[in-house]
Amino acid sequence: MLRFWGNKLLQYGLVLLITLVINFSLPRLMPGSPLELLAGEDVGRLTTEERQEVMSRHGLDQPVHKQFIIYLGQLGQGDLGYSYRQNRPVSTIIWERLPWTLLLTGSALVLSSIIGVIFGTLAAWRRGRFSDVGSMSLFIFLDSMPSFWLGMILVALFGARLRWFPVFGARTPFADYTGWAALVDVLHHLALPLLTLTLVTIAGLFLIIRYSTLETLGEQYITVARAKGLPERLIIFRHVLRNAMLPGITVFMLSLGYVVSGTTVIETVFAWPGLGRLMFEAVMQRDYPVLQATFMIVTVCVIIANFVADLLYPLADPRVRAEGGQ
């Protein structure tokens, strides 16, 4: 058992190291340079000496392997560096953005999972009938819709035309709300992006739950349960769903890992101050420290989510527990 976990940890450690190397080298392999960010608008008028001075101030004149060792050293001390673009510590920027991303993607994940599980089970139960075909078509339709397009339609309709919801951001600027008013303000801003993100992500879990429920429904113990004369609702929710949930848990945990990476497209459409947008801008402008830090955090979260899924799975599925014990 101990060796099993030791091996797991070693595996994850190795994955982490590899991703650190990739995170560090990828931005530097991309064409383009952060010089414009570092030197300002009139970058073309710099003399050669000024150019070198700017690069050396940020350690970019060093050979890449030296830069990497310096980066690892800083990382070891918990220092994520300074953003070229904002001239502020990367950790501060991420801390500002993280809660907003967690709020949006986290609540969308919970909502779409609940809806996906309920509707997936029901659709399987009513297989082939209108409600099954109808809900499946609806969710697949939503899934195939570009999220930015759906978001823009919702903004145009509920934001710009009906004016029920704000059209950008996570809070009303300069309103200085406190307490309940602040909470209501945030929820009010959250509504449209949350709706968009939920709608476009329901399909994933819906399809998996529907499929595994169908499989479970064909199992012999269900036939037995039916033969015993158990009420249909009991069969579905006690006997079928508990087993059909298993693949759902894997998918949920995997999505959980990606929650921190946010959703660039929806954050862009709604001007939501999340991490996805931050990453996108960092890529476009070659802001190396922000790129490295955000990619690393996403990697770590995915690894942790995998790890937790490994831990949880035996609890949910006794069969895995039994095999693990052998």
Binding site: M30, P31, G32, S33, L35, E36, A39, G40, E41, D42, V43, G44, R45, L46, T48, E50, E53, R85, Q86, N87, I93, E96, I115, I118, F119, L122, A123, R126, S131, D132, G134, S135, L138, V155, A156, G159, A160, W164, F165, P166, V167, F168, G169, P173, F174, A175, Y177, V184, L187, H188, A191, L195, T268, V269, F270, A271, P273, R277, M284, R286
Partner: protein, 539 residues
């Protein structure tokens, strides 16, 4: 069952929606709009909310980020010695006027009495001297170059000073004097690393009272401003990166003005509708077809001339810009500028283009080769421009395919390391320069001079022409206006004939705003409405 659940979800969503709508109050952004309050000193608006596309750091001369709107906003916080008027003529601002000797070397100025910094400290001639010396000693891409010809600043007394130049600077009153902000000595004297300074104490009509990084700035009117109280009491700046989100916010009234120019196809939605309106004018930014003059066959002036003849720029202005632009002059200079030469004109003549290609032997050698035309993928207008140019060029026998790239990758191919002496790797590219590269004669030399290391810092096509080199060098030291104009005229004739690049058009500035909140914008020719004159009258 499933249907019922679906409807239930819908109903729940609507309840949620209803619960979240603000019913009892609409948030008011500014200080209370008390009807009792008397308007004073021409105050026209209490509060204006403006969208800007990105964070501009602590918005002091070393931390602002963009040329536009960063530099414009900077000059709401800081003052310059002179100020460009609506027609870009430098007028005295902090000073009462100027005297200059015949050689253009010794310049005498006297400051207005009673100018103070935002913290109440008087602004004196010592601050002027300090500022120019500071910019010389602490490198900054825009200021350091601009002050390089200043040999010495002599302080005569608190208000009077003399600037001594090492050589005459043709547009000295425009740049540096109308461009370089004056900083307070008592705050900056011990600052050795200005890039991380968060202070933004200036002397301008507005001071920053709050900055939430990446979200908002709050600017308060400087009520003690030496030219009177600015027309808007408070400016709230909101950072909205996305273009669509910006203009939706303007439409619903969450903001009153957007710093970015409106896309031509949206003009109808915003113009004259009542709640919103637009103000338009010429723009001095340029859209060019950049040509790699170093690479065969484009090193042949005949081929470049053929390219220019093949392009229907009027069609570009009509189709891509929907008329909101001025057709490019082959001499690069915008027709609204005083040094424009009206004798040079773009000629669209595909037949002549074909004949020129024939003469250059292009078809025999390169008829089957495909050339790449690069453009930025995030700018739909430029992508469309590139497509139309490709059609134009294909029609005369130059095979061109359009390649859309992200800006950083494009920059890396066209202008690696932002250093023209580092070479280049492209055939053709859509490119553009900002307004200062149009107005400032010194930067003009940078566009065309063949000494890439020292002078031709913006010559990204490696254009080389000895006649142009001589003219550019002469221009950079000529102070006599008549002689200046002669050089400008000659320069434009040579450029039109040798085609370093094709000037396609100059996009108009189209600014959307809500007239109910504030309408007294001043359109500075070629540069838009985001300037001091929109809030303070020229003295």
């Amino acid at each position: 069952m499933i249907k019922r659940l679906f409807y239930l979800t819908l109903v729940l969503l609507f309840i949620f929606a209803a619960a979240c709508s603000p019913t009892e109050e609409t948030p008011s952004a500014g200080p209370a709009d008390d009807p009792e309050e008397e308007p004073t000193n021409g105050v026209e608006a209490v509060s204006l909310r403006m969208a800007i596309p990105r964070d501009e750091g602590s918005l002091n001369p070393y931390t602002y980020v963009t040329g536009y709107p960063g530099h414009n906003l900077l000059l709401l916080i800081y003052d310059t010695v002179f100020q460009l008027d609506e027609n870009n003529i430098p007028k005295p601002w902090l000073v009462t006027g100027h005297e200059v000797d015949a050689e253009g070397i010794n310049w005498n100025f006297t400051l207005h009495d009673g100018i103070t910094w935002h913290d109440g400290t008087p602004l004196t001639a010592e601050d002027i001297k300090f500022s120019f010396e500071y910019y010389g000693a602490h490198s900054h891409s825009r200021w350091t170059n601009a002050v390089s010809a200043i040999e010495e600043v002599v302080v005569e007394d608190d208000l009077s000073f003399r600037i001594i130049l090492s050589e005459p600077v043709p547009a000295f009153l425009a740049n540096p004097l109308s461009d370089v902000p004056i900083i307070p000595e008592h705050i900056w004297q011990d600052v050795s690393d200005p890039d991380s300074l968060t202070d933004h104490t200036g002397s301008g009509p507005y001071r920053i009272t709050e900055h939430v990084p990446d979200q908002t700035y709050r600017l308060q009117a400087n009520t003690d401003y030496f030219l009177g109280k600015p027309a808007v009491e408070e400016i709230g700046m909101i950072i909205i990166e996305d273009q669509t989100a910006t203009f939706t916010a303007l439409r619903v009234g969450d903001i009153d003005f957007a710093s970015r120019s409106l896309q031509p196809e949206l003009v109808e939605d915003f113009a004259g509708e009542g709640e919103t309106d637009i103000i338009t004018g010429p723009g001095f930014t340029s859209s060019l077809l950049q040509i790699n003059n170093e690479r065969e066959p484009f090193n042949d002036p005949l081929v470049r001339k053929a390219i220019s003849r093949a392009i229907d720029i009027d069609d570009l202005v009509d189709t891509v810009m929907l008329g909101y632009g001025t057709a490019g002059s082959p001499g690069y200079i915008h027709p609204d500028l005083p040094h424009y030469n009206p004798d040079v004109e773009h000629v669209y003549d595909p037949d002549e283009a074909a004949a020129l290609l024939e003469e250059a032997g292009f078809i025999d050698t390169y008829g089957d080769r495909e050339f790449e035309l690069l453009t930025r993928s995030n700018d739909p207008l430029r992508v469309r421009t590139a497509e139309m140019i490709a059609e134009n060029l294909n029609a005369v026998g130059i095979n061109v395919s359009v390649q859309a790239l992200d800006s950083a990758t494009l920059d890396d191919l066209v202008w690696p390391e932002f250093d023209t002496s580092q070479g280049r790797d492209y055939d053709l590219s859509i490119w553009g320069w900002s307004a200062p590269v149009m107005i400032d004669p010194e930067r003009l030399g940078g566009l065309f001079h063949s000494d890439l290391e020292n002078r031709g810092t913006l010559n990204i096509g490696a254009y080389a022409n000895s006649e142009v080199d001589t003219l550019a060098e002469e221009l950079s030291v000529t102070v006599d206006p008549g002689r200046q104009q002669d050089i400008f005229n000659q320069l434009q004739v040579v450029l039109a004939d040798t085609v370093p690049f094709v000037t396609l058009y100059y996009p108009d500035g189209i600014y959307a705003y809500r007239p109910d909140t504030y309408a007294s914008w001043t359109y500075q020719n070629g540069q838009g409405v985001l300037n001091k004159l929109s809030f303070i009258d020229m003295p």
